[in-house]
């Protein structure tokens, strides 16, 4: 198992090189650069822009730029954000906790809803409850995430119970510690629901299907023939088997912890990484973009690895060492 993990981690290196090269070239060939906004202003002298260009290294050929970026990055230096004028690492570290919190709460929300609903839908299949939950799942999977976010914002502004955006209130600093915590939670509720609902619907359907599959299996018949009570069969024998593929999906959830909330953050004006990165793409703040891509890709690759490891962990039949 150890060698397997090590091999997969080593394979990450060429993959990340390829990813960074691809995105770097894409950013490079995009028309215009970070200095466009300056160039558009008449009163800024051309010499100043030329000087800036030299400073940022934008006057050199792309491969030179790439190599220098790569050299810096492998030394652990993500560079500086051109628009915020602070080190990229610092900038990302400022924004990451908000996104991480949102991703985690929505993940918990999705699981907390999906697993019980899926189990009950399977246990009471073809009941009214099953049909209603199937219908809701269809609806939740078909509504565009950004539209749901938009509706949530409108709802918040009309009803007034939830804030319409942001991470905390204006008077946050004057609140008691408990008040501050509640303030964060209060701001998290709507984004969590919006981000979590699609995942919940998907998980629920998978959970239900898995349960129904497992209920058909012969070892359930064996358990029944042993005289095991029906509820123990459902919640121990069946659930343990049916939840396996879902546990695996935690790996994929890890992949999106930092990059999965871009749309929701933008629409709901939640100041996390997603919002920052989208703006960085728009402003061609190259080092921020590159850092985001590297982090996002690493987490994606590691997430897939985690999924495979979890699969082996929950299913004793699967072993990776040869």
């Amino acid at each position: 198992m150890k060698t397997y993990i090590l091999r997969r981690l080593l394979l990450m290196i060429p993959m990340l090189l390829g990813v960074s090269l691809l995105v770097f070239v894409l950013v490079y060939i995009s028309p215009g650069n970070y200095l466009d906004a300056l160039k558009a202003q008449r009163d800024i002298p051309a010499e100043f822009i030329a000087k800036k260009e030299r400073e940022l290294g934008l006057d050199r050929p792309w491969y030179v730029q790439y190599v220098s970026w790569l050299g810096r990055t492998v030394r652990g230096d993500f560079g500086e954000s051109w628009s915020y004028r602070i080190p990229v690492a610092e900038l990302l570290a400022q924004r990451a906790p908000a996104t991480l919190a949102l991703s985690l709460t929505s993940l918990v929300f999705a699981w907390a809803i999906a697993v019980p609903l899926g189990v009950f839908a399977a246990v009471y299949r073809n009941s009214i409850f099953d049909k209603l939950s199937a219908l809701s799942a269809y609806a939740a999977l078909s509504i565009p995430e950004f539209f749901l976010a938009l509706l949530a914002v409108i709802f918040a502004s009309q009803w007034g119970v939830f804030p319409t955006g942001g991470l905390s209130s204006i008077d946050h600093d004057y609140l008691s510690p408990v008040g501050q915590l509640w303030d964060y939670v209060h701001h998290l509720i709507l984004p969590t629901i919006v981000l979590g609902i699609g995942g919940a619907a998907g998980l629920m359907r998978v959970m239900r299907t898995n349960m129904l599959d497992v209920i058909q299996s012969e070892y359930v018949m064996t358990a029944r023939a042993k005289g095991v009570p029906e509820n123990v069969i459902m919640f121990r024998h069946v659930l343990r088997n049916a939840i396996n593929p879902l546990v695996t999906s935690l790996g994929f959830a890890f992949s999106g912890l930092l990059s999965g909330a871009v749309l929701v953050e933008n629409v709901m004006n939640y100041p996390g990484l997603g919002q920052l990165i989208f703006q960085a793409f728009m402003r061609k703040d190259r080092d921020v973009v590159m850092a985001a891509v590297i982090i996002g890709s690493s987490m994606l690759i590691i997430g897939n690895l985690i999924a495979d490891i979890l699969l082996a962990w929950v299913d004793p039949r699967i072993r990776y060492d040869k």
Binding site: M15, L16, G18, V19, L22, V23, V25, L26, V27, I29, S30, P31, Y138, A139, L141, S142, I143, P144, E145, F146, F147, L150, L151, V153, I154, S157, Q158, T164, G202, R205, V206, R208, T209, D213, P245, L246, T248, S249, F252, S255, G256, S259, G260, V262, L263, N266, V267, I277, F278, F281, K284, V289, A292, V293, G296, S297, L300, I301
Partner: protein, 350 residues
């Protein structure tokens, strides 16, 4: 096989319902220029955020109520009692080219200017939401079909050849797909969009660009599955038999392998259409998809975002969201029906 599938879909209530409604949508989208009372960019700055006009039966014919702007600061309109404009059918309109070459100078219905027919209200420049919705449907309804066509062709070709030949081509192709799948989707889309925008400058071409980008993200998964399936079919006796008969690899792929992949392809295609619809809507909503003066449902919604807090009662501006929702749900249900027919074992996957 295809007609059989159609028959099976129609035999199921959910399938028949979704198929019929979707076909109606496509017909409406196809005839959008005829059905829409106005062109997409037909403004009326005196009637911004106009509510849907009431349609009544008046003096033996359909007519619309007329409205007066009572408070311009919050776009408050009130119906004027006793004032109506009759709805005419097959009315004269500025000439346009249906399908790009058939000159038409009529629309199916409308009212005489200066009165306006707003079945679903108007937007910030007094454009008719209903008309824009109709035109916008062309984007959402075609993007999925073109998208799966492109992904399927690329996925089949690359995956099929990789699985069939193996070796260097296989390794290169598979590393390529891994590369694409190792970048968070939205990042890659945005980067591609920025890099390629200059080659697709006018707004019709943007549509093509969006399809190309979404397909570029999508083909990798298809190719990998096709490769796997091809590999497993590769060593079956009927392939050896074909080779012994001296058939070339392309013929073998086309004649013997692809028919065996048909059921897989039809199911995954159906189930991936919603992804394209949602993808385009999201990009347009973010302002990096379809651009004005063209229209798409996502683009229409992005207007709402700009004024969301002030948007007190302009519910009709949200109808594009409803349209996306309904279209996607129809495709989802239809996709599930098709999957149940073609391969009942291929249940919901993670």
């Amino acid at each position: 096989m295809t007609s059989d599938l159609l028959h099976q879909i129609l035999r199921r209530r959910a399938g028949a319902f979704c198929l019929v409604v979707l076909i109606l949508f496509y017909v409406a989208a196809f005839f959008a220029p005829l059905l829409a009372p106005y062109a997409t960019s037909d403004q009326d700055l005196t009637k911004t955020y106009h509510p849907p006009t009431g349609v009544v039966w008046q003096e033996g014919r359909l007519a619309v109520r007329l409205y007066k702007l009572v408070d311009p600061t919050c776009a408050k309109y009130e119906a004027e009692p006793g004032q109506f404009a009759p709805i005419h059918f097959w009315v004269k309109a500025p000439t346009y080219h249906f399908l790009g070459f058939i000159p038409v100078s009529h629309r199916l219905f409308g009212v005489e200017a200066p009165a306006r027919l707003y079945l679903l209200g108007s937007d910030e420049t007094g454009r008719d939401v209903f008309s824009r919705l109709l035109y916008g449907s062309r984007v959402s309804l075609t993007i999925g079909l073109i998208g799966i066509l492109i992904t399927t062709v690329i996925g089949l070709t690359v995956g099929g050849l990789a699985g069939y030949f193996g070796g260097v081509f296989d390794s290169v192709a598979m590393r390529g797909t891994e590369l694409i799948m190792a970048i968070p989707g939205l990042y890659l889309i945005i980067a591609l969009r920025a890099a390629l925008a200059k080659y697709f400058d006018d707004s019709d071409q943007i549509f093509i660009l969006i399809v190309v980008i979404l397909s570029f993200i999508g083909w990798a998964g298809t190719a990998r599955v096709i490769r796997g399936l091809t590999l497993s079919l590769r060593n079956r006796p009927f392939i050896y038999a074909a080779e012994a008969l001296g058939q070339g690899p392309v013929t073998i792929l086309w004649k013997h392998l692809f028919p065996n992949l048909f059921s897989y392809l039809i199911v995954t295609s159906m189930l991936s259409i919603p992804g394209y619809i949602l993808g385009e809507a999201a990009l347009s909503f973010l302002g990096i998809g379809i651009q004005e003066p063209s229209t798409s449902w996502g683009l229409m919604l992005s207007q709402v975002q700009d004024l969301k807090v002030f948007m007190l009662n302009f519910w009709w501006l949200l109808t594009p969201g409803l349209a996306i929702f309904i279209t996607v749900i129809l495709f989802n249900v239809l996709g599930d029906v098709v999957r149940d027919i073609v391969d009942p074992k291929l249940k919901t996957q993670v």
